[in-house]
């Protein structure tokens, strides 16, 4: 298996490029994806290489162009729609939730919507309260959608291809703090997009996380090793459907769970996962589940406040020590 080091951004671009080459029906559409090269530079150079039929700049009308994507998918195309950030996706939520997610069921299985929507998410760039959020849970709540969160470079490279092979709408969240980082990319995916993966084996406590928080969980696990605590790190990868088996398997092994989720605590996926553990692994638990989430404030601009709002490595380390002390 050949490996190469790419930035997360390059890995995403390489995935889009493969999709464009592999399938005539694929095109990329969104605000400034073409001539500008993408708000976060993901599609830079693709317009020049693939032209305006494949890389389509749209006006600023999220509901309009996401709806066009739904219609084009109904008509047999395989659109990749880029929405600049999850915050802007709220303007397209009608088309995503009321159309894309419902059409198959509502039509008695006659039509399906093979659409992929990519969007940036997450805080850390001091982009303040309208560009910095983790709302994966909004979409993970919706039957009819699948929701992916590539946390590694290899997943950034390959999940798009897996999503395009799916006959139903798939939403992919790309955490902005990962874009500039380097990581290894191989020539194939490690697993189905629906599987969670254990990124580090451990025996004492499960750190269950996804997306931008995976790096933090792995850093915490490393520090915990020096404290003689063996942390297992579970990367959920797919947020709908959740890989319940993998979650339960890890907790059954370690007997302790800490969920790290950049969303706000109330109504978070962390709460959902905690409930799954309660229902399916309660008797394996040696301590109550802990959740580390973002403070319940709109994300503030100044760096010290932004960082204070977000889950941090130190918090994870302390939580792990607490949970070990509990029993």
């Amino acid at each position: 298996m050949s490996e190469q080091v790419l930035t997360y951004r390059e890995a995403l671009r390489s995935g889009i490029e493969q999709a464009l080459i592999d399938d005539e029906r694929v095109f990329l559409m969104g605000e400034d994806v073409g001539r500008y090269g993408g708000c976060y530079g993901v599609s830079k150079g693709l317009f020049e290489r693939y032209g305006e039929q494949k890389i389509i700049d749209t006006p600023l009308c999220e509901s309009g162009f996401v709806g066009v994507g739904v219609g084009a998918a109904l008509g047999g195309m395989r659109p990749i729609i880029e929405v600049m950030t999850v915050n802007f996706s709220l303007l397209a939520m009608d088309q995503i939730v009321n159309s894309a997610a419902t059409l198959r069921h509502m039509s008695g299985g006659q039509v399906n919507v093979p659409l992929v929507i990519r969007m940036a998410c997450g805080a850390g760039l001091q982009l303040a309260a309208q560009h910095s959020h983790s709302w994966e849970n909004f979409y993970a709540h919706i039957p009819g959608l699948k929701v992916l969160s590539p946390a590694t470079h290899n997943d950034a490279r390959h999940m798009l291809i897996q999503a395009l092979a799916d006959p139903d709408p798939v939403i992919i969240f790309e955490h902005v703090m990962l874009l500039n980082t380097n990581g290894e990319v191989s020539d194939k995916s490690e697993a189905s997009m629906k599987k969670a993966l254990v990124r580090q084996q451990g025996t004492d406590v499960s750190l269950i996380t996804y997306g931008g928080s995976l790096t933090k969980a792995l850093a915490a696990a490393k520090q915990l090793q020096t404290l003689n605590i063996s942390a297992e790190v579970v990367d959920l990868r797919c947020l709908r459907p959740l890989d319940t088996k993998a979650i339960v398997a890890s907790v059954t092994k370690t007997h302790r769970a800490i969920i790290i989720d950049e969303a706000w605590l109330t109504g978070s996926l962390a709460g959902e996962i905690s409930a799954i553990i309660m229902e399916q692994a309660f008797w394996h638990l040696d301590a109550p589940v802990k959740r580390i989430c973002t403070a319940e404030v709109p994300i503030p601009y100044p760096s010290h406040l932004e960082q204070a709002a977000l889950p941090q490595v130190e918090q994870i380390v302390i939580a792990a020590q607490d949970i070990m002390a509990a029993c």
Binding site: V68, G144, A165
Partner: protein
């Protein structure tokens, strides 16, 4: 330009029959609703029949249709069987959407009938997308999008107008201006009540049509369809019409006078065509009663079909939320 209409007697009688099928079907639906055979919301098309019938008669079998929650008439005029439509409203598996959608979500892929959309304005971008797919696949088909004048206030209307012209998408937009968005009159919700003018401001060919006259609608639609097929550009028709019944089954109609309704009923599409045909000695009473009898039989057969339909087993509740299992690269189960 193929402007010549089939204004021969046989065609006019066929159009009359289509409108009457819708009229009588809707009347029966109101009865069945009162009997609680049909539940949920029920939006009747009575008064607006000329639009669906006029437009549908100008389309080809491969053209796509996107309609609203007031779409029984569109479905009938498009060629979905009355049986499958009524069974859908009964919620049975022999309905056109397997009973999953009900009155507001009639689908039939084989007729390129993409719903029954109950989000006002939601169908417009979708229609533009279907048209985009056709254009990219170099199919000659066009997409017709029906919506009410209430949709004009929605952002999605304006977004779709802009995209359709900007990208030159083969869409025929049919605005069914029945003057009230639920209970709010057009003049109370729009700063500019000439809707064709709004579409025109986006650079789209647009015109107003008497939506109570099936011949006028067909002529305008025929011209529009021809132009779209030649140019691949969108076209907009504002069909001025009137809804004779309430918005839905839960409407006390406090917002309009009975006299106003009566005035519009007098110039309704069905009565108007019948009067014209009779005045010109082209319709015998017996012919009309034969048509009515045929429709009565068709409705009766539809009721029997719907009554005999089965309920979806509860075990299949979650069926078709997602497509059946598939395999992808790396899929392990």
């Amino acid at each position: 330009m193929k402007q010549k209409l089939h204004l021969d007697r046989a065609h006019l009688l066929a159009q009359l029959k289509q409108m009457l099928r819708i009229r009588r079907f809707e009347e029966k639906c109101a009865e069945l609703y009162a009997q609680e055979k049909i539940r949920g919301f029920l939006h009747l098309y009575i008064g607006e029949e000329a639009i669906a019938v006029g437009v549908m008669s100008t389309l080809s079998a491969k053209d796509n249709i996107v309609a609203t929650y007031r779409e029984h008439g569109h479905a009938l005029a498009r060629g979905l069987s009355m049986k499958s439509i009524l069974a859908e409203m009964y919620g049975r598996t022999n309905g056109c959407s397997r009973g999953r959608g009900g009155s507001m979500h009639l689908f039939d892929k084989s007729n390129h009938f993409y719903g029954g959309n109950a989000i006002v304005g939601g169908g417009l971008p979708l229609a533009a997308g279907l048209a985009m797919a056709n254009k990219r696949n170099e199919k000659q088909a066009l997409t017709v999008c029906f919506f009410g004048e209430g949709a004009v206030a929605e952002g999605e209307f304006h977004e779709a107008m802009n995209l359709a012209v900007l990208w030159q998408l083969p869409v025929l937009f049919i605005c069914e201006n029945n003057r009230y968005a639920m209970g709010t009159a057009l003049a109370l919700s729009e700063s500019e009540i000439n809707i064709a003018k709004k579409a025109n401001s986006y650079g789209m060919a647009a015109e107003q049509v008497d939506g109570m006259n099936v011949v006028d609608v067909e002529a305008a639609s025929s011209k529009a369809v021809e132009q779209i097929r030649q140019t691949n550009k969108p076209y907009f028709l504002e069909c001025q019409s009137y809804r004779f019944r309430g918005h839905s089954s839960f409407d006390g109609q406090l917002y309009r006078d009975k006299a106003e309704v009566k005035l519009w009923q007098e110039k309704g599409p069905v009565i108007r065509l019948i009067s014209w045909l009779k005045e010109n000695n082209r319709l015998e009473d017996e012919e009309l009663s034969n048509i009515e009898a045929e429709i009565k039989d068709e409705i009766q057969a539809a009721i029997v079909f719907a009554e005999q339909g089965e309920w979806e087993p509860i075990a299949d509740l979650a069926k078709d939320v997602y497509s059946p299992a598939y395999t992808t690269q790396g899929e392990q189960s």
